[in-house]
């Protein structure tokens, strides 16, 4: 899917000429340029990641002296042992896994159901409902009212404060809605004639045909929840509830803002957590999310494009 569209788009983008034979000079030059450019771009994106990876295997002194670039200096696995032995890291990690699983499940159920309903053109008040949803994209109550709301609902210091407020992302909802809208209505009609109710249509016809968009949405939601620290930062006051991102942020931003703290307070006696521990924590935190990508990737492009382009 991807390569095909790249091929057809390629020559046009390269010289504005009509599509020529594949072995034409212009095309070759373009592929060469394209390949080099993408490899460079790729390297640019990968570089910080590789550096952090190298730092995670290096000695603290070498990292501090700025010797580590893309290859570990003073190779050791001790830092990994230290971080892995840290109970707080793992309890935060466990929280993140739970929040992500529960949060993604809730978000998927709610978003899919709402998108399905909103995709029915015959639904009365449909535009109003969409309007309400879109309204929340542009306006919200603000930080303190939201905080007071969560507090009054008794959600503070519970998992729900993290997983419920963001359960429906309007952007995801709209992508999904347009995906459903573009599904051949004949399928539904046929199903209705065969005696399926709305629930049956949704479950037996629509869902099985929506794997790409569902996979994409799962990816969107789980990455968003996995990476999120702000909701947890706002609504959780107990360390045992913190997700790993908050733990990581405290470790990294906390250490490096010792300097900016100085600005406010003319100094802080905090020593920074050594950079290699930070690096190891970062690597361990992103591994699971890195693992999800390859599995979902094949749905990714079709999933997000399908809804938007057609129709």
């Amino acid at each position: 899917m991807v390569t095909q569209s790249a091929l057809t788009a390629g020559p046009e983008a390269g010289g504005g000429k009509p599509v020529g034979p594949k072995d034409s000079k212009g095309y070759k030059a373009f592929t060469w340029f394209n390949g080099t450019f993408l490899v460079l771009l790729c390297g640019l994106m990968l570089y910080p990641f590789v550096t952090v990876l190298a730092q995670s295997f290096s000695s603290a002194g070498a990292v501090k002296a700025g010797l580590v670039n893309v290859w570990p200096i003073g190779f050791n696995l001790d830092t990994y042992k230290v971080v892995i032995a840290n109970d707080l890291f793992w309890s935060s990690y466990k929280n993140t896994v739970i929040y992500t699983l529960v949060g993604t499940t809730i978000a998927m159920v709610l978003t899919t159901l709402l998108a399905f309903v909103l995709a029915r053109k015959q639904l009365r008040g449909r535009n109003l409902l969409i309007g309400i949803a879109v309204f929340t994209m542009f306006f919200n109550g603000g930080l303190i009212p939201n905080y007071v709301l969560i507090q009054t609902l008794g959600l503070k210091n519970t998992m729900w404060a993290v997983v419920l407020p963001g359960a429906i992302s309007v952007f995801n909802l709209l992508v999904m809605k347009s995906f459903f809208e573009n599904m051949a209505s004949e399928l539904e009609e046929a199903a209705q004639i065969d005696g399926l109710g709305w629930w049956g249509i949704f479950r037996r016809i629509v869902l099985p045909l929506s794997k790409p968009v569902i996979a994409t949405m799962i990816l969107f939601y789980s990455v968003a929840i996995w990476n999120d620290w702000f909701a947890a930062f706002l609504y959780l006051d107990k360390q045992e509830l913190f997700p790993v991102t908050l733990y990581l942020r405290n470790m990294i931003a906390g250490a490096s803002s010792a300097a900016s703290q100085g600005a406010a307070a003319a100094g802080s006696t905090k020593e920074a957590i050594s950079a290699n521990i930070q690096a190891v924590t970062m690597i361990l935190t992103i591994i699971p999310i890195l693992c999800i990508y390859p599995f979902v990737q094949r749905y990714f492009v079709s999933g997000i494009m399908l809804g938007s382009v057609k129709g």
């Binding site: 002194g61 002296a65 700025g66 010797l67 905080y147 470790m251 906390g254 803002s257 100085g262 003319a266």
Partner: protein
Amino acid sequence: MARAGHLAGRRARSARAAGALTVVGALALAACGSGGGGSTDADGEATDLECSTESVADEQWKAAEPREFSLLWTDWADYPITDSWEFFDEIEKRTNVKLKLTNIPFSDHEEKRSLLISAGDAPQIIPLIYTGEEQQFAASGAVVPLSDYADYMPNFKKYTEEWDLVDMVDDLRQEDGKYYMTPGLHEVSVPMFSVIIRKDVFDEVGAPVPETWEDMQKGLELIKAKYPDSTPLADGFEGGAITNYAAHAFGTVAGWGFGDGAWWDEEAGEFVYAGTTDGYKDMLTYFNGLTEKGLLDTESFTAADSGGGTVTEKVASEKVFAASGGSWTVQEFATALDAAGVTDYELVQIAPPGGPAGQMVEPRNFWNGFMLTADAAKDENFCDLLHFTDWLYYNPEARELIQWGVEGTHYTKDAEGKYTLNPEYTLKQLNLNPSGTIDLKKDLGFANDVLTGSTESIELKTSYNTPAYVEYIEAIQETRTPRDPMPPHPLDEAELEQSSLLGTPLKDTVDTATLAFILGQRDLSEWDDYVSGLEGQGLSGYMDLINGAYERANS
């Protein structure tokens, strides 16, 4: 580099969030109305509270009945709080007070603190408040005017008088004549940041340890002659640190210490804007001179600070031989030098050099203190709460407990007042008794970052510091004079808002111009243009505001 940029972006974002919070918080609280506590003219009068016991300075205070008070606890990632910390048990044993904690991560603790206070959900005791930070909360009545209850804080009273800090405490008064936070008190004024030099290199080129900025320049020139590739002086804090501690020597304020920019002109008897003073120009001229001679590492003035990382690298690769930092930076530099294989180096944190204005340093007798939220005043045991916080922050035995643990159990003190940890205990952060197995800070919660260091007598300050730092303290005490604090000029709520509207762009202009002048991007002959630029931004209106507040406070 990518990481630093990323963090800087985040920081900028959280700074914006903090700004937004402040505004929203002020609005929300303006609606809530009155501040807590009684209203009085003189401190401590007309506010009779019921107390369970008496509190006397320097004596152990203990509540008659078990009490529970809530406290905002900032968590550092490397010293995570645990339930088993003996620290809290010991406090409960001594005072009958159980602390109920609200945990917030250090990375964004200011934002969260604003949020909690603004939403009326904050615990009673808010520690880690630096002077000035209470203003926004005081103006909206979210915190208790502690000056009304000074009589219930005997330790605080005693040590402000004994250490001659009464005038400085008076400077904390807001427009209504009350102060809303009490700071940690330091018996001696020691600047946290100053220059750390490679003394061996200064010796090698025959330069003495700089006593003035002039000495410093001579030393740097000699070093440059010997190491032509080097840019011997660096800051690592975007110039904020070095201009802060250097400004006092030039008779002005700058960098981190710029504050609201008000500088007291003794002769004129009024405030002038520090960024337009001759002292400020002299300072810029001096640093610009260093840049022109290639003595200043200009990169360290522009790179986003990531805790001085890049400067540490340059120190390790011997491109920089003098840089800003605190006592902990010495250790950082040493680690980097060791890793780079440099031997026989000697790093010394020197007292901030003097200048045209004399051997001056900033007055830094105040460190972080605490506020009490307005809700605390409604607590039926409010008096006990005051007694407790007074004990916790200002009682010498409490301070000793926080820093060192329990005498006999964790440490012993000999006849000369030397503290020694018992063999099984260690305080790795300060490299004390490294062979011990139980860490005083990590395992037991003593020497924690929330309460330690706030109030310190000379004795306590020297008890845990390295001999090198004790020398630094002594050098400061013997050879430097703390600048007189500025006269108070408290603004009321409307003025505060106006001053932040006017003052923020002014300060931005000063910050930008300061760097441009120092780095030679702007010629100092344009000084007058710069000053008239400030005038055009409403400088006179801003100064009228401050001088008006000063006159009101003194009438």
